[in-house]
């Protein structure tokens, strides 16, 4: 069993809600990564998304764009991140998921990338510019390597398409909760609750809500419609501002979420 599956399995036994934080690798220096991962693990993260900076992140809002620029200026590369993770993997037991645009993987070479990702102990991959129409480029190779390709569904995906994606899905299904890019939102469209419930009803794997979630209240509310949440921009911002207690609060909120 893959670490992600195990994590969701034990969460289910405890009737808990998932919290998956996202951090930008190399923001503040790649030497911070170990400390950041240990901190998120100690707060109770279900899994951790490790963002790879990219020069042209079209799915991301200002917070993650700026973190990516800071990281690139410090010379962060996908190769460097994988080698850092390989070194620290024995110390961190939480599932680790890479979130990267397609081009850094393509430039790496798909075969070499998977080889090094396995060596580093990567459990999953999220590729925001790889819809199911193009995934044959890498999906079966990831599956052979026991790395879960986490698929995304969105508010603009018709229910038949959501079903199709959910059926292919591995690990968990990432339900995007805004029609837009990443970044904090003060409120969500009222249809989001129904959207998440609909996805839950067709998905054989856990469903996590993400994009725009930035407060403990939103963590609780959106988590109540599905199996938990992903929080990115806000975590990135708090790490940058060194407000670690705020991160603790966000993750703690997921432990109080109404389990239905």
């Amino acid at each position: 069993m893959n670490r992600i599956e195990k994590a969701f399995h034990s969460l289910k036994e405890k009737n808990g809600k998932a919290f998956v934080p996202y951090l930008m690798a190399g923001d503040g220096g790649l030497d911070q990564l170990l400390e950041q991962l240990i901190f998120l693990e100690s707060c109770g993260a279900t899994a951790i998304e490790i963002g790879i900076p990219f020069s042209d992140p079209v799915a991301d809002g200002p917070a993650i764009q700026e973190a990516g620029i800071r990281s690139l200026q410090l010379g962060t590369t996908l190769k460097g991140v994988l080698s850092a993770i390989q070194t620290i993997r024995p110390i961190v037991s939480t599932p680790l998921i890479l979130m990267t645009y397609m081009n850094p993987i393509y430039a790496y070479g798909i075969g070499s990338f998977i080889h090094d990702a396995v060596k580093a102990g990567i459990d999953g991959c999220i590729i925001p510019d790889l819809p199911i129409e193009e995934e044959e480029l890498i999906a079966s190779h990831l599956q052979d390597a026991n790395i879960e390709l986490i698929r995304l569904v969105t508010l603009t995906s018709p229910i038949e398409r959501i079903e199709e994606i959910a059926k292919k899905g591995r690990g968990f299904l990432y339900a995007v909760t805004v029609t837009g890019i990443t970044g904090a939102r003060t409120e969500f469209n009222t249809s989001v609750a129904e959207y998440l419930k609909n996805i839950k009803s067709v998905s054989p794997i856990p469903v996590l809500a993400g994009f725009g979630i930035s407060t403990p209240e939103q963590v609780v509310e959106l988590g109540s419609y599905c199996d938990g949440v992903v929080v990115g921009s806000k975590i990135v911002q708090f790490f940058h501002e060194k407000k670690l207690n705020e991160i603790e609060h966000l993750i703690a909120a997921s432990k109080t979420a109404d389990v239905s």
Binding site: F54, S55, D56, P57, V58, A59, G61, Q65, L72, T77, L78, K79, Y101, M102, N103, P104, I105, Y106, A107, Y108, P128, D129, L130, P131, E133, E134, L152, V153, T154, L155, T156, S157, P158, R161, I165, V176, T179, G180, I181
Partner: protein, 400 residues
Amino acid sequence: MTTYAMPDEKGHFGIYGGRFVPETLMQAVLELGQAYDDAKNDESFQADLTYLLKEYVGRETPLYFAENLTKHANGAKIYLKREDLNHTGAHKINNTVGQALLAVRMGKKKIVAETGAGQHGVATATVCALLNLECVIFMGEEDIKRQQLNVFRMELLGAKVVSVTSGSRTLKDACNEALRYWVSNVTDTHYILGSVMGPHPFPMMVRDFQSVIGKETKQQYNEKFGKNPEAIIACIGGGSNSMGMFYPFVEDSEVKLIGVEAAGHGIDTEQHAASLTKGKPGVLHGALMYLLQDDAGQIQEAHSISAGLDYPGVGPEHSYLKDIGRVQYESITDSEALDALKLLCRLEGIIPALESAHAVAYALKHAQTMSQNESIVVCLSGRGDKDVQTIQANMKEALE
């Protein structure tokens, strides 16, 4: 080559192309593909398009024999396909008219577009005014400085121009912001992409709308001489005027097709926009294509004196045509383009766009390798009015 049927139904040209976009856009991209297929086969849509191209854009454009330039080059005859004489001064409007009609047909009331030199932005703002569509144009802060007059033209036409301050603040970043805007407003907005790039169906659709250039050229040349020209030369940024020019000739193997990229300060420097000559395949803005990138897959900044060629990628079909060897890709530096521009002004009384001057410059070189019985057609994709300030500044700099 006998038959050429690209792309496949998923928008792939060999390994290139495809639909590498966030899931939020997939439904819009699929719907657009369907709507375009329907429109393509609908006589009334084609009739509307033909009417506007003739009565509004001013087609057909002349195929002009540049006799003085030919004498100067002392080789093959040089013909100019005068896309600079289109309404708004460039080939860009061939595509914006088509896409705006499609947007209306799809019931979309709002348009977003990116622009580099401003020509595509002006052509988009123009058709939006004509068809009563709301229009937002993203343009890099650097390009806004270089092309102030075009910014004002867009605003005069009723468009909202948004300055892009991320990244290199040029065309690449304007594309990023236009895509982000589209992701956030996809339900009521159509994205009029300006070149043969982006996710399927854009590369195919923009090529089809631009192929009016090549079709007319073929007909005009054949009417006069009963055969095809020996060579065709066009400049390449994203690659829309060249793709539109080449496409109707792709199966005519006797016609040599030459695409000219911007070599900027030289292809052995860091400052050029020669994606096919110096780049390697990768994924950007929705498609797999040749890209200027570093070893880690980060996109590099392009450089050209011409804002319209200043893009680190090149359309997927060009990427494919390079690999199969059907089109030959060359490059021309900033200073070679400027020299050709001045020459065309003096010899023919035509001020070409800096982009098109790259094609003219290569044609002058290439003509000398051909016989006087042979012909080259150059796609003169746009007029140079927008560039006179850049040219003036550059000539002053050269004098100092």
